[in-house]
Each structure stands twice: as C-alpha cells, then as structure tokens.
C-alpha cells in the first residue's frame, strides 16, 4: 500500500518507563477505556431520547406513568453525560501517545468542525440541565418543556458526526489528500455506515440499560415507580431487539467499506472470528429476550445473563475494531517513526556543525556603539548605510540629534519625524548609557 502523506512523529520516547510490556498494556487500556466511554455515550443518546419520547407520550395519552418514566430517565442522562465526557479523556490521552501523528492530523483536517465536540456539547449539556431542572416548574407548559428536551437531544445527536468523521479519518491514512476536509469524510460510505451502526447500537445499549434500570425500579415500594419499572423493562426489550437485528445487516457494510489492505490485515490476523463470536452471543441474548417478550416481570437472573452476554459482545467488538484500526495504520506509524528518526539524525549533524561554527567564528572588532546597536536589536530594522525598515543611520546622523535627544527618541519614538516609514516601536528596555554610546556611533557616520 502506498501512502501519499506520512506525518512526522514526536521525537520523544513513549512513556513506557523502559518496560517493553507497557506498549501492549497501553493498547489494552485504550480498548477498555474507549469502550466504557462509548457505552456512556450510547446511554446518553438513548436515554435522553427516551426521556423526551416518554414525556411526549405521557402528555398525549395523559398517562402519569410515562411522565414518571421520562423523569426517571433524566438521572442516567446526567450521570452518563458527565461520565461519558470524563471517560473520553483516557482514550484521548492514550490515542495521543500511541497514534499521535495520525490522530492529530485527522483532527486538524476536520477543524474547526472538530471543535463541535466541545462547544456543541456545552450547549447540549446546559439544555439538558434546563430540561431536567425545570421539570416541575414547567409542568403546566409541557410543549415548551418538550421543545427544550428535543433541542438538547438533537444537539447530542450531532456530536457523533464530528467524532466519527475524525476517528474514521485517523484510521484511514490511505485516503488523505492535501485538501481533505470535514464534509468529504462525513459523506463517505465508511463514515456513514459506521454512524448508522453507532446510532442503532446506542438504542440497543440503552435497551439493555433499561432492563437493569427497570429491574431496580420494579423493586420499589411506590406502585407508580413499579409501574414505571415495567414500562422500562418492556421498552428495553424491543429497544434492544430491533436495532440489534438491523445492525446484523449494517455490520458487514461497515466492514467492507474499509480500504482493502485493512480488510486483508483484519482477516490475516484472525479478527473475523471475533465477529462470529459477537454474532453468536448477540443471537443468544435476543433468543433469551424473545422467550420472555411478553413478561414484564423479567427475572433478575435473565437480566444479568443478557448483560453478561452483551458485555462479551461489546468487548469483542471493541477488540476487533482496534484490530482493524491497527491493521490500517501500522504501516504509516512505522514509516512516520522511521522518517522522524532519519530527520533527527540529520538534524543532530547540523546542530553540531552550527555549534562548532559558532565557537570557531572569528572575533570581529567593531565600534562599541555598533556592537550595542546589534545587541539591542536596532540592526534588525536599521542599517548604517541603507534604508531597511527604518532610515539608514547615515540619514539619522544628518539630523544632528544630541545623545540626550536620541535617548528620548529610542524610548519614545516620534514617527512624525520620518513620514513614510513604518513607526518604530518604543524600546524602553534599552539603558540610556548604552543609547548614548550608540548615538556617538550614529553621529560618527557622517
């Protein structure tokens, strides 16, 4: 595979502490922390959507139980939005050292849109708090309340667009051009199918979450909460089943939209067996739920067995995704590392040569004033003989300034003396004694 663009690496060692096994540990940490982050985000999207949905349904059907369900769902929203952001930091940290050049390059190509994951998130966050904490105050104005909730949910749903296009770009360096831009990536088939898969998975994960949440609520002493728990259990089953079945068809579309060499590496490393495992456990979980589809009092043992089985599915999918990622980017990472090492080798030679040249430079004797003018940076803009940025010192000498006047003019220049020139910045840091010597030198230039 040929890559047009090989970014450079950071010329500092990986923080492994010299322990070789640390690099695989970093990879394992990345897989685990990333999947936890994604699970929180799944629940955030699903639960915030569900809360607004049940809120609306409660109004339409005048059923207080739905309102209760909607309100109960705001707690997991608060927790998952906070924990989701928090658990996004660990993968960011690990990605930044493991695949530094690819991740940074992708986020720059996707900017400023990439910043949406911050600013869009803040707006969504504030709106979702507003939705939650005005629940009772806006009870009489439900349409306004539902509108706030809807905007918050819509905002949350836009965040994966920025996120997915960046991770997808980072893992497909073979597609990079000198003009790659956010919209090119967002509208690509691989990004599109991954997004579809992700949004559907969010509902499925939220479905599993509802099974657990509903189970706890069914144990309450308050009959209304028990009723709400039953609604959660019922909804959880269908929210899990329907998107999961669709995703069995979307999954292959995702896999085969990756670049060929990545798919090859994926199969060569045997990651397809993880797909088989995932499908098997997902089908098992679906079968378990279908058996009890009309039973709202789903027993705890069944809920936990579905959770356990789905945990295996999620870890397996996270691992195979990491396999695809590394298959796609390993060649570029290696090339990037080699390129940086070669650069550093050459740079060392030039650095040493420059140091040597400096220590061997012949000492030039020059007038004291001129030396001071150089030291204080005057010669950046002035030359003795010719106009540079400022007037030639020969021309300044024509004005017959006294040393005191020159001290003043250096500390507080008067641009009106030299129309047509760029105004000189005041240089109050130059000591008057030094300026006096520089003035002597200038006035000697007649």
């Amino acid at each position: 595979m040929k890559f047009n663009i090989i970014p450079g690496d950071i010329p500092l060692p990986l923080p492994t502490g010299g322990l070789e096994f640390m690099e695989p540990v970093f990879h394992a940490l990345l897989v685990v922390s990333w999947v936890i982050h994604i699970l929180f985000i799944n629940v955030l999207l699903g639960a915030s959507f569900a809360s607004v949905y049940f809120n609306k349904r409660g109004v339409n059907e005048k059923n207080p139980v739905f309102d209760k369900v909607a309100y109960l769902l705001t707690t997991p929203v608060t927790i998952s939005e906070n924990m989701g952001a928090l658990w996004g930091v660990a993968p960011l940290l690990l990605v930044s050292i493991l695949i530094t050049p690819l991740f940074y390059s992708a986020s720059i190509m996707n900017s400023p849109h990439w910043l949406h994951i911050i600013y869009g998130n803040i707006v969504a966050f504030l709106l979702s708090y507003l939705y939650k904490y005005t629940w009772h105050t806006l009870h009489a104005r439900k349409s306004l309340h539902i509108l706030i909730g809807t905007i918050a949910v819509a905002m949350f749903f836009t965040l994966p667009l920025a996120f997915m296009s960046t991770v997808q770009l980072a893992m497909t360096p073979s597609t990079w051009t000198y003009h790659t831009h956010f919209w090119d990536i967002l509208l690509r088939s691989d990004t599109f199918f991954r997004l579809v898969h992700f949004y559907l998975a969010s509902f499925a994960v939220t479905g599993v979450f509802m099974l657990v949440y509903g189970m706890y609520k069914r144990r309450s002493d308050d009959p209304e909460i028990v009723e709400a728990g039953k609604v959660l259990t019922r909804t959880g089953k269908s929210w899990f089943l329907v998107p999961t079945v669709i995703n069995l068809f979307i999954g292959p579309l995702v896999l085969f939209s990756f670049p060929d060499y990545g798919i090859e590496a994926f199969f060569n490393h045997g990651f397809h067996w993880l797909i088989v495992l995932t499908v098997l456990v997902v089908v098992y979980a679906g079968y378990q739920l279908l058996k009890d589809f009309f039973n709202d009092d789903l027993p705890a043992s069944k809920v936990w067995s579905v959770v356990a089985v789905m945990f295996i599915a999620v870890v397996s999918m996270a691992t195979l995704r990491h396999g695809m990622r590394m298959g796609l980017i390993s060649p570029v990472l290696a090339a990037s590392k080699a390129k940086t090492e070669a650069f550093q080798k050459e740079s060392l030679l030039a650095f040493e040569a420059a140091q040597k040249a400096q220590s061997e430079a012949p000492v030039v004797t020059q007038p004291a004033g001129m030396a001071l003018a150089e030291k204080h940076g005057c010669l950046a803009c002035h030359n003795a003989e010719v106009k540079v940025v400022g007037p030639a010192y020969k021309d300044v000498a024509q004005k017959h300034y006294s040393a005191t006047q020159i001290v003043q003019l250096v500390h507080q220049p008067k641009p009106e003396n030299w129309p047509g020139y760029m105004p000189m910045p005041p240089m109050p840091q130059v000591p008057p004694a030094d300026i006096a010597q520089i003035a002597d030198w200038i006035n000697s230039l007649k």
């Binding site: 663009i5 970014p7 450079g8 690496d9 950071i10 010329p11 500092l12 060692p13 923080p15 608060t78 939005e81 906070n82 952001a85 928090l86 996004g88 930091v89 660990a90 940290l93 930044s96 050292i97 050049p101 991740f103 940074y104 390059s105 986020s107 720059i108 900017s111 400023p112 910043l115 911050i118 998130n121 803040i122 966050f125 504030l126 708090y129 051009t177 000198y178 003009h179 790659t180 650069f343 550093q344 740079s347 060392l348 030679l349 030039a350 650095f351 030291k375 940076g377 950046a380 540079v388 940025v389 220049p413 047509g420 760029m422 910045p425 005041p426 240089m427 109050p428 840091q429 130059v430």
Partner: protein, 466 residues
C-alpha cells in the same frame, strides 16, 4: 509545524480561539470547582456545627450553580483546552504528553474521583438533612471532592510551570531523553500552585458573594452572615496569593521578566508601562471596593458592587493568564520549542536543508521554491510559521505590521525576528530562498487587499488535484 496539516482561523486567529476556551475554563474550574469546593465545604461545616438550616440551604443553592457550571462548562472547556491545542500546536501538546503522560493519567484517575464525588455530594445533599448522621457523611463527600479537585489543579499547574521554567529536564537532546522527575519538580511549580490555590479560593468567594446576594433577597440577616463568611475568606486570601505571586514571579527567566510590562498591556502601548499599572490598580480597586463594602455593610451594599467585584476579579484573572502566556514567548516550552512548534535544536538543520522540504502536508510541487511557485510557497511558510500568532487581516494582523515596507525590507526584517526589537518572536526558520518566498508573499498581501488564487499559483505551477 511542518509535520501536520494547516488549520486556519481567519480574523480571530489561533490565540483568540484558544484564549476564549482557556479563560472560560479558568474562570469556572478555579472558581466553581477548586475554590468553590473549598468554601462550600467550609460553609457546610459551619451549618452543621451551628445547626444552621438557612446557611445549609444557601450553600446548596450556591452548590447547585457551581455544579451546573463545573460539569457543563468547566469540565468540557478543560477537555476543550486539549482539543484546541491538538489542532493549534500538535507538536507542543505531543511533546508535553510524552513527558507528562503518567502525571496526566493520574490526574485523570483523580478527575474521576472528583467527578463522582461531586455528583454524589450534590445529588445526595437534599436526602441528608441537618442533624442526621447522613449529613456528616455528605460532608465527607464534599471534602473528598475538594481534595480531588485541588489535586487535579496541582498536576496541571506542574505542566504549566514546566512550559515556562522546564528546569534541567532534558538529559540529552539527540535523541531527546526527558528527566521526568525534574520536569515535574520544575522551579515554578510550587509557587505557582500556591498562587493559584489562594486566588481560586478568593475568586470562588467573590462568586459566592454575588450569588448569596441574589439568593438572600428576602433575608438580610442571612445575607450579612454569608457576606461576613465569604468576605473574610476573600480578604484573607489576598495577602497569601500576593506572597506566592511574588515568589512565582521570582522564578521567571530574566527574558520573561523583561517582557512582563509588555505582556500586561499591548505592544502598541509598550512605551507606557504605567498604563499597565493603572489597569491593574483599577481592577484591584474594583475587587477591593466590592469586597470591603459587601463585608462592612452587607445589608446596604447594592448588587452593582458585587458585579463590579466580579468583573474586577475576571479582569485580573484574564490579565494574569495573558501575561503568563505572553512572557513565555518566543517559546511554547522554554528553550526547547518555539511558539510555532519548531524545536530549537532543529533550526540549524531546517535552515540548511529547507523547511518546506519536510512539510508533509504541503503538496510536493511547493516543497522547493522556484520563481513560479514563490508566492504559494511563501503562503505555506506564512501558514506554518506565522499564523500561530498572526492573522492576515484580523487580530494581530500581519498586513498592518508590514505597512510602509517593501519586499526587500520585509526580507531583511524577517531575518532578525528573534532580536531584542521583537524578543517575543521566534526566528524565521528556513533557507535563504524560503525567506525570499515568505517576503514575496507578505509583500503580495501588503499590496493586494484580496488574495487571488490565480496570482498565487501563477500559470506554470501545477494546481494540485487529488
């Protein structure tokens, strides 16, 4: 930096974009989280000790505000600093992450503790009424949150300190090998941590005083109690952070101290360092006037005094962060990396071999300068070396900096950027031809108000297609 793609932020520029996020983060993380957790812990403790229901309720209302701010804005803008620097200066954040990875990782674990205990403290406050054993447990949650949030600040402060005063952190330059402990215990870490700790508490007290004013409209007795409490904390912190501030300033490199007054105002007013003094005295008196009058006459001081105090504090905080960022120039990591992402030690090689030659994201036909591609090559150089601080037309516009010059004088000027005339600027890095190309491009934008693609690429240079 040449290893990465180019991100442009027209008009506002990178500095503004970054400063917007970063200063928002500082206001909230220092006020609502670090300082806020400490003062609310204190007022909750007093409420428990005196069985003071009203103070307990007031503390909860302040916590509610701080909770919303800290979680929705503070935490996200904190991650935002990272996301911004990713796209603005990847070389710098990449280096910092490699040196500080484990500290950052520990910081993240503590950040977990901080977030979980904040949620727990806040969400269980109401279910733990005064006088019950649950209240004592709730207080401990707050205490854990306060310690954790201070600890996260302690680590981040080490990284900020490192950027200005890295100390003897490099065991060797080629290949670069960091001394991780020396980087952590850099000279300005402890003083800057003390400085930030005390002004965070003071700033949080100022926020709490404003909020207390709003939450005690019908209860001036409670207002008096709150103002005395938070006012005492605020006034007591001032001498402490001044003391640490002086120690912190003492650790600055001499070159940074020399830039202090210029950083405190703008370069345009560098001839009038006294303006910076007026500004700081003005802002400080806003804070003091508000704090003292709210403290002395809590029942009669109007809301406007609290607002003045708040704006004064925000001004001082913004001013401090600006100065800290400015005096570090021309470096982003002192003596190691220039603000534009070029490593100091790589300059001789890049000057000899060419900067564009190594630019991975510049199309190959612009990697060596020819008479035909000169303007476009110059534009790439501008984008990779200058746009960290300059925009073409907007904030700190390059165009106004070169008025009255011609191509030749621009060429001479950019050969001496890092001179005492502009000691805060990194040197131009690249070959003589590249310097000519940059001068040509700058002269082109000086003359032409609008850049035209046709002029830049000229007829003979191939337009890159993918």
């Amino acid at each position: 930096m040449f290893d990465y793609p180019i991100f442009e932020m027209p008009l506002l520029g990178h500095r503004f974009l970054f400063a917007f996020d970063a200063i928002l983060h500082v206001f909230i993380s220092h006020g609502a989280a670090v300082g806020g957790s400490i003062i609310l812990m204190l007022s909750q403790w007093l409420a428990i000790r005196n069985n003071d229901r009203k103070l307990d309720e007031l503390s909860y209302k302040i916590l509610f505000t701080f909770f919303i701010l800290a979680t929705a804005v503070g935490a996200l803008t904190g991650i935002g600093i990272w996301i911004h620097i990713n796209i603005i200066n990847p070389a710098a954040i990449g280096a910092l992450l490699r040196v500080f990875f484990w500290k950052w990782f520990i910081e993240w674990i503590v950040f977990n503790v901080e977030m979980i205990f904040l949620l727990w403290w806040f969400l269980s406050w109401k279910s733990a009424p005064l006088g019950t054993p649950a209240k004592a447990k709730n207080f401990k949650l707050g205490m854990t949150y306060a310690i954790a949030s201070w600890f996260t600040m302690a680590i981040i402060t080490a990284i900020l300190g490192f950027m200005m005063t890295p100390g003897n952190w490099l065991k060797s330059y080629f290949p670069a090998e960091p001394d991780y402990l020396a980087a952590l215990f850099n000279p300005s870490w402890i003083p800057s941590l003390g400085f930030r700790t005390f002004w965070s508490i003071a700033w949080a007290s100022a926020m709490a005083m404003l909020l207390s004013w709003l939450f005690t409209r019908n209860d001036t007795e409670l207002r008096q109690k709150a103002m005395r409490l938070y006012g005492t904390v605020l006034l007591a912190c001032i001498p402490l952070f001044c003391l640490f501030g002086a120690w912190y300033y003492d650790q600055f490199p001499q070159a940074a101290k020399d830039l202090f007054w210029m950083g405190a105002i703008t370069r345009r007013l560098a001839a009038h360092p006294e303006y910076a003094t007026y500004l700081m005295v003005g802002l400080s008196s806003m804070v003091l006037a508000g704090a003292v009058s709210l403290y002395a006459k809590p029942k009669r001081t109007p809301l406007v005094m609290a607002v003045i105090m708040l704006f004064g504090s925000m001004g001082l905080i913004g001013e401090f962060e600006r100065v800290r960022e400015f005096v570090r120039k021309p470096y982003i990591i002192y003596d190691y990396m220039y603000a534009n992402g070029v490593r100091v030690a790589d300059v001789p090689y890049l000057n000899k071999d060419g900067y564009l030659k190594h630019a991975a994201f510049v199309p190959p036909e612009f990697r060596s300068v020819t008479p035909d591609n000169k303007l476009m090559a110059g534009k790439y150089l501008y984008q990779m070396q200058c746009r960290y601080c300059h925009t073409v037309n907007g904030i700190n516009a390059i165009r106004t900096r070169i008025q009255g010059m011609d191509e030749q004088s621009i060429f001479i000027r950019i050969g001496a950027l890092n001179s005492p005339a502009t000691p805060f600027m990194p040197p131009f890095t690249g070959t003589e031809e590249e310097r000519h190309a940059l001068a040509a491009y700058l002269d082109y934008i000086r003359v032409n108000k609008v850049e035209s693609e046709d002029d830049l690429v000229k007829s003979s240079a191939p337009v890159y297609a993918h």
